[in-house]
Amino acid sequence: MSPMIDISSASKTFTMHLQNGARLPVVSGVSMQVNAGECVVLSGPSGAGKSSILKMIFGNYRCDHGRLLVRHNEAMIDVASAQPRDILRIRRQTIGYVSQFLRAVPRVATLDVVAEPLIANGVARDQARTQAGTLLRRLNIAERLWALPPSTFSGGEQQRVNIARGFISDMPILLLDEPTASLDGVNRKIVVDLVAEKKVRGVAMVAIVHDDEVRHLIADRIIDVTSFAAAA
Amino acid sequence: MNAPVYNFAYLDEQTKRMIRRAILKAIAIPGYQVPFASREMPMPYGWGTGGVQVTAAILGREDTLKVIDQGSDDTTNAISIRKFFEKTANVTTTTVTSDATVIQTRHRIPETALNDNQVLVYQVPIPEPLRFLEPRETETRRMHALGEYGLMHVKLYEDIARHGHIATTYAYPVKVNDRYVMDPSPTPKFDNPKMDNCAALQLFGAGREKRIYAIPPQTKVTSLDFEDHPFETYRFDAPCALCGSRTSYLDEVVVDDKGGRMFVCSDTDYCETRRADGHQGAGFGADHQVT
């Protein structure tokens, strides 16, 4: 069975024209595969390019060289060279992304923020909101907060809303950037359980986790990205 | 002193040809406003120059002319125009509708049904039905050309929103031959149904605005409305005080300085004819109401 994610020789360098064209290499020669049902954790010091790799898989960052294949509807699509509308479709149906900081559209109620990925895929609004509520409850977000936009929540609450939004639909691939960073022990455990449930459903995951304990609990494999360090 | 000698019906023959060409074009495109080179006439704009030019262009030596103003043969304007044609064309004139072959009218359609031997010439002030909604001539021409009449319905919608019903009571817009929207001239909406499938030829002349339009005989003319606010003409609540007619358009006549008034037929010939036939109204003092 082919992998869900298949990266070969991907590299990226930022060219900062406002700083006289200074080049900032990020990663070089990234090659890795992720299969259904496994969680690969990227490790390495800050600035080594872990987030950048996730963003490249998601199509948020462009890739200078190499291929980033993801399995979408039985076909392998190269995100690095895909058309914008294809990437949009892949994001709607195949790859979910839990970013490090919640970047929600302002003034939208929490319940709707979490329900949106379902609605975008054709689920009826009422049913989507019900499912969103169930997940929020599980992540200990009190019902009285559901009607409020998350911008005024604490860091931990925002992160849990982020996780709910990322985990709510049945995406075959999930990218997790520090999912437990601002969470207490109780909520960390809940996230670990959610990840385990996704694995059982065959979801392929790539995660960045700093907490050793959590890493231990969710990682099937750990890849050290310093091996992809680009020459300065 | 030598009296001036006029060409038959005042206008020179070339002018009449030009106007007739415009009339033919208008008949060929029912309801469409045909521009024409309106001439200086011996009466000011606003006094029927368009109607007079149309009548002058079609009048023949054998014609019998009737001129009415608000339904009456004996108002100042009707008399002036009739005398004008008596002098310049020496044609027979009449006040009897059924005897006339050409009838020039301001603001009314005769009650007596017209026949296929007659032409009705209307005097028109502003020919463009959309003028007060869309002041740009370039835009209104385009709207007519493309049949875009949404704006006309906007006006009717506004009436209903504001007054609960369509408030236009005269110059009520009509659609001619299912194609052009037309202003019937300031006739009361009471008269609109008479234009539909009329046996006579109807010609419209606007002198100041330099437009001629026409409705050929037996043409469909429908008044604009909404399905749930259909066009309705009003009925007067009581008959004419003089002849007792229940179906004609009535004028209010003040009879004394104590507020006394009576309602009588606007069409004087129609009323006289009925009285001559023996019909009689209740006379002054009867109770009249207009709904």
Partner: protein
């Protein structure tokens, strides 16, 4: 072939020059149903000229704009007769002007403003027209008791929302927007953007929106085209272009946004 698989609007080598002055050079792109494309640039970038050409209000000097009509056939817009073009403009397209007074009849009631397009395509039932107008006013968050008021009496934000309702009543598939939030107070802008975002998602509209405001682009658009001096500098997925800008001008634009 699914409806979504065919492009809705195809722009091919579109250029506009005024004498030697090149206002717009060789712009090409394809827009699919449900996609929102933002054209961003500063004054003089050519973005407004481009929008005018796309919406057939300005004739290009070179190039072509094609549109897939409701019957599925893609037509070169330059070959449409005037009647067809005006009909398209009134039914399948919307155009939201920066100044709402340009896109409304200011002296006519709100209900009539929204109902006009319906009447223009033959709706003849006053009650139904009014009902549809009412429901659209509700959708753009205008209180129904203002339905008989003319937009002369409305605030700027309300006028803009009315303009949107007037455009959407015939369920167009493509909407052009020219700086729809320009000139509005910040809080009013925010409300309007939320409304537009919601409607675009709900109705699956394709939108071409011209804006100088990158925040608007980020909020509303899937794809963005950065223009400068009449040329397309960079184009791609909105989050990609704004988070990972490649061209020097794009990097300059992005870095010029004041942080929240």
């Amino acid at each position: 072939m699914r409806d979504d698989d065919q492009p809705l609007l195809i722009c091919d080598g579109l250029s506009k020059s005024y004498g030697r002055q090149l206002a717009c050079k060789d712009v090409s792109f394809q827009l699919y149903p449900g996609e929102v494309l933002a054209i961003v640039g500063e004054s003089g970038s050519g973005k407004s000229t481009l929008l005018q050409m796309l919406s057939t209000q300005l004739q290009p000097s070179k190039g072509r704009v094609s549109y897939r009509m409701r019957d599925g056939i893609t037509r070169d817009l330059a070959t449409l007769g005037e009647a067809e073009r005006r009909f398209l403009f009134r039914t399948d397209w919307g155009y939201v002007h920066q100044d709402p007074a340009m896109g409304l009849r200011m002296a006519v009631s709100a209900g009539a403003n929204v109902g006009e397009r319906l009447m223009a395509v033959g709706w003849g039932h006053y009650g139904k027209i009014r009902e549809t107008s009412s429901s659209w006013l509700e959708r753009v968050e205008i209180s129904i008791d203002r339905i008989d008021d003319a937009p002369k009496t409305y605030s700027g934000g309300m006028r803009q929302r009315l303009q949107i309702a007037r455009n959407l009543v015939t369920e167009p598939r493509l909407v052009f927007m020219d700086e729809p939030t320009g000139g509005l107070d910040v809080s009013v802008q925010a409300r309007l953007l939320d409304l537009v975002r919601g409607l675009v998602n709900e109705l699956g509209l394709a939108v071409v929106i011209v804006t100088h405001d990158l925040a608007v682009a980020r909020l509303l658009s899937h794809r963005v085209m950065v223009m400068k001096g009449g040329e397309v500098i960079e184009t791609g997925l909105t989050d990609q272009v704004l988070d990972d800008p490649h061209e020097p001008y794009t990097q300059l634009l992005v870095s010029s946004i004041l942080p929240a």
